[in-house]
């Protein structure tokens, strides 16, 4: 089903369309301002923002913050099965190869953030292109695209990611692509259904009756007004991306270089020392939970703030 059936090149450049752009944009700017005001009043959103800010600062300034080189090993301190715990020199102790745990955690934030942002951006842009295609053209294009998305959605997400990562080989880039692929059908469906709803609204009917071209209606009106749920989903997808990337690294599909401090890999590596050094399994876990919680809180708060039903 197509959302807008405007046949052929419509009445050449009917300027009335411009008039309609004005109120639509004003209301969406108002919606954003309104949403931001409500975000600031939500304590959970503030808490989430604080977590994310700390996470981003740690990731960006890792070389300045880390007390030691994250890959430098000091085997003189390590005896089989016994690792020095927290001390004044090494606040979180040393790992199984005598590397400073705190420095590895700090550098790990870089990989988590990088993978999260890049994979979400990739997944969202590809998914939205499919969604736009389906939503704007309808008909058989919609049918083909959405059945393809259904097929992708019928595979459990992590299994799909494992498969893609396995095909592409072990590297950071293949993890990014693997996580992005899982996101593609989600964003495609979301944008399409959001566009379908917008397509039935009165302002689209009005634009059509004024002879505004289909292209202008889709790109200028329907698309911008359909973005709210996509923004919310992107924030939540960041949280999931961090978990999925860590999960892939945990399963042994992370980067090829074993020295790279990925949180998921750090967790997996400590499993054999769980009895003697349980804290080493705790720290990467805490780092994952804190970053995921941050994005999740922001995402949920955004959802509430952008929900038109809750608008005053």
């Amino acid at each position: 089903m197509s959302i807008i059936e405007v046949a052929g090149p419509s009445a050449g450049g009917f300027q009335g369309g411009e008039l309609l752009v004005q109120p639509a944009e004003e209301s969406s700017a108002g919606l954003l301002r309104d949403a931001f005001r409500r975000l600031r009043r939500n304590p959970l959103a503030i808490f989430g923002a604080v977590l994310i800010t700390v996470f981003v600062i740690v990731a960006v300034f890792a070389p300045l913050l880390a007390p030691y080189d994250p890959v430098a090993t000091d085997l003189s301190q390590i005896r089989p099965g016994v690792f020095p715990g927290p001390s004044a020199q090494h606040l979180l102790g040393l790992d199984q190869l005598g590397r400073d745990e705190l420095s590895r955690l700090i550098y790990g934030a870089r990989y988590s953030l990088l993978i999260g942002v890049v994979s979400t951006a990739m997944g969202a842009s590809v998914g939205m292109s499919f969604g736009l295609l389906a939503g704007a053209f309808g008909g058989w294009v919609d049918g083909v695209v959405m059945r393809l998305m259904d097929v992708m959605l019928s595979i459990p997400g992590l299994l799909l990611a494992i498969g893609v990562a396995a095909v592409l080989g072990r590297s950071i880039v293949s993890i990014m692509i693997a996580v992005a692929v899982v996101n593609v059908p989600i964003f495609a469906r979301l944008l399409r259904s959001s566009m379908l709803v917008q397509g039935r609204s009165d302002y689209v009917l009005a634009s059509r009756s004024l002879g505004v071209t289909r292209r202008k209606i889709v790109l200028g009106h329907v698309l911008p007004n359909s973005l709210a749920p996509v923004i919310v989903q992107a924030t939540l997808a960041l949280a999931t991306a961090i978990v999925e990337a860590a999960g892939l690294a945990y399963l042994g599909l992370g980067s090829e270089d074993p020295r790279i401090p990925e949180w998921g890999r750090m967790l997996a590596e400590t499993q054999s020392f769980l009895a003697s050094a349980p804290l080493l399994a705790l720290w990467p876990g805490v780092a994952i939970v804190v970053s995921v919680l941050g994005f999740y809180l922001i995402g949920e708060a955004l959802r509430e703030a952008l929900d038109p039903k809750l608008r005053s």
């Binding site: 997400g157 396995a166 967790l267 994952i288």
Partner: protein, 337 residues
């Protein structure tokens, strides 16, 4: 209702067909074939060619696909290159482990989540409400592979209350019979109650690790749904009619609040399949997740092809069951479908 179910089942056909093509192409796109995984890096080209010929991987792709499709239609998923067993046997042996794990996780989440969410809504603003809100936010953010090792350390290694890995104590119950491969059920059916109890003990930690995220979602949604319904006019009417609090709760509040809860349970059940892969890895449970992730590393084409098709079918059927179950709670849905 029946028409709706049939239509949805028919939709399975194109999806599974598309998936079969996708999986077939994907499996062959994996770098290195099964012969490399089987023979190691130093295999001679002759030996590798022999292995490829033995499993029919030397034939043209279209011929291979045709054969695969024909076999699959007869529920014959081929032979695993890793285990040298029929894939269907491997699935019937492993899938019950995943079902057992997933069911206990979802039961844990429902049994704890719905009462918790209900109480939180009824005692809104009290410490119980705040604790459940904070707890469910944390619960959503904690992945299986973070919580699992912590539970294992605390309850298995430190306290020694529960076993850390596996499905059953293989030494203590080496002679246990497994007619269904559902270990708890097996113990009950064969009258071996200690074996059943041992299987339950092995399920507790994995079920908690896997069930925490659904628990958090169910608690949150139940709380929100109960709050919304409690303020509704029909509840006030029911109270004004003089109905007892219990009747109002059971017949009006809970029943109406269950709709969004059923939705979230359904969504979470689907997601459990992903979580199970990681949970089985953390707790060394020989289920579908372990089978599939192992098959990718071993380039076990037949297991991947059969397993993904099988899991996708299960996944779609679960979603169908969830959609049908709306009718149980909402007569409007029943009328519409």
């Amino acid at each position: 209702m029946v028409k709706f179910a049939v239509r949805r089942l028919l939709l399975l056909v194109p999806i599974l067909f598309g998936l079969s093509v996708l999986v077939f192409v994907f499996v062959r796109a994996l770098p290195g074939g099964p012969e490399a995984a089987l023979l190691g890096e130093r295999a001679t080209p002759e030996r590798a060619a022999q292995v490829r010929a033995a499993y029919g991987f030397d034939q043209p792709l279209l011929v291979q696909y045709g054969k695969y499709l024909g076999q699959t239609l007869h529920l014959n998923f081929g032979t695993s290159t890793r285990y040298r067993t029929a894939v269907i046997d491997e699935i019937t042996r492993r899938f019950p482990a995943t079902i057992e794990l997933g069911l206990s996780a979802i039961v844990f989440a429902i049994v704890l989540g719905i009462p918790l969410g209900y109480l939180a809504a009824r005692r809104r603003g009290t410490w119980l409400d705040n604790a459940s809100t904070v707890g469910s936010l944390l619960g959503i953010a904690i992945p299986v592979f973070v919580l699992g090792p912590l539970l294992k350390y605390l309850f298995a290694i430190k306290l020694g209350w529960l076993p850390a890995t596996g499905r059953q104590d293989t030494r203590g119950f080496f002679d246990a019979q497994h007619p269904t491969n559902f270990f708890v059920l097996d113990g009950l059916v064969t009258g071996n109650f200690p074996a059943a109890w041992d299987a339950v003990k092995h399920l507790i930690l994995p079920a908690i690790a896997l069930g925490t995220i659904p628990l958090a979602f169910i608690t949150r949604i139940t709380r929100a749904a109960v709050l919304e319904v409690t303020g509704a006019d029909f509840v006030r009417t029911a109270e004004a009619k003089g109905l007892t609090k219990q009747v109002v709760t059971r017949r009006h509040v809970l029943r109406n609040a269950m709709l969004p809860v059923v939705t979230i349970v359904g969504l979470q059940t689907g997601l459990l399949l992903s979580g199970a892969i990681l949970t089985e890895n953390v707790f060394a449970i020989q289920g579908m997740g372990q089978l599939m992730s192992g098959a990718i590393f071993d380039r076990d084409y037949a297991v991947l092809q059969g397993g993904i098709l099988f899991l996708a079918t299960v996944f779609i059927l679960i979603n169908l069951l969830v959609d049908l179950s709306y009718g149980l709670f909402d007569p409007r849905v029943r009328a519409a479908t």
